[in-house]
Homo-oligomer: 145 residues x 2
DNA sequence: CGGCATCCAAGTCGATACTG
DNA sequence: CAGTATCGACTTGGATGCCG
């Protein structure tokens, strides 16, 4: 658990954007899934969600926080750096470590989200077919313009 | 089944608008639920969804049709009106009876929707509490302006 | 009855630049 | 690192009026 998030997890080839089932705003569902395995820092979330501007990421997180689905915590920086860690020797102490984590309420959404994902997984081809058919009929209705 | 739809089913007291789980556009979920028990005519849908302008109702229905969730059918009007029914004696024959019905794909959404409704039913109070707390802290952060 | 056309207000989202 | 500020495009949805 708490492994680094897959950078390609939410690439634009992922057809999740065509399901009619949505959770909150455009990125809320993906954010929740990123927090599924434990707390994450802002910059950690930015890796899989690198197509999301920091403004939107902040905005979505604030919305989730407002609804009690996500909790934002600031940990005081350790003044005595007895555990610098390998490769982190050059960093000056940040003003505070900020983490986002799912609340129990946020976690309770994982069930419905799994159901939604299962539905999308099972039916996204039908959705694509229907849309292509609709586009085709719309085209044929046009007099070759 | 096929009883008339409850006019108050989707009144604004219904807190479904605060759940983060959405199906398609603003009214798609409600439309699907209205079609759950069988085909409905446009004017039938307008009763429980009377807060929805006809433009939006059409727009949502077109979207659902495009995605293969709803099918729109036009039946030829019966020229011989052997069944006028009580109280309907004054109606002149319409140009065609139009009905909207769920497709199997649309019907397959009822399961996830039930899950979403169960979640909302179970947690909407927590959502409200969180929002009120958030509003309160936002107010107290303001310097009594 | 079952829409469509038009206008307009509000919200959403993205790009870019800047900050403590 | 973790945001904030500003601008503008795009989308969504409501109000109103008209049509076959």
């Amino acid at each position: 658990m708490r492994e680094p998030l897959d950078p390609d997890m939410f690439d634009e080839l992922c057809p999740s954007s065509l399901t009619p089932i949505r959770f909150g705003d455009k990125w809320a569902g993906m954010i929740i899934r990123c927090l599924e395995d434990g707390p994450r820092r802002f910059s950690e979330l930015r890796v899989p969600l690198r197509r999301v501007t920091p403004k939107m990421l902040t905005q979505s997180l604030r919305g989730l926080e407002r609804d009690g689905l996500v909790r934002r915590t600031v940990q005081a920086p350790q003044t005595h750096t007895d555990e610098v860690g390998p490769g982190g020797a050059g960093g000056r102490p940040p003003s505070g470590r900020i983490e986002y984590a799912l609340t129990p309420l946020g976690r309770s959404l994982l069930g419905p989200m799994a159901v939604a994902c299962a539905w999308a997984d099972e039916h996204w081809e039908e959705l694509l077919d229907a849309r292509e058919s609709a586009a085709g009929t719309a085209e044929s209705a046009r007099p070759a313009g």
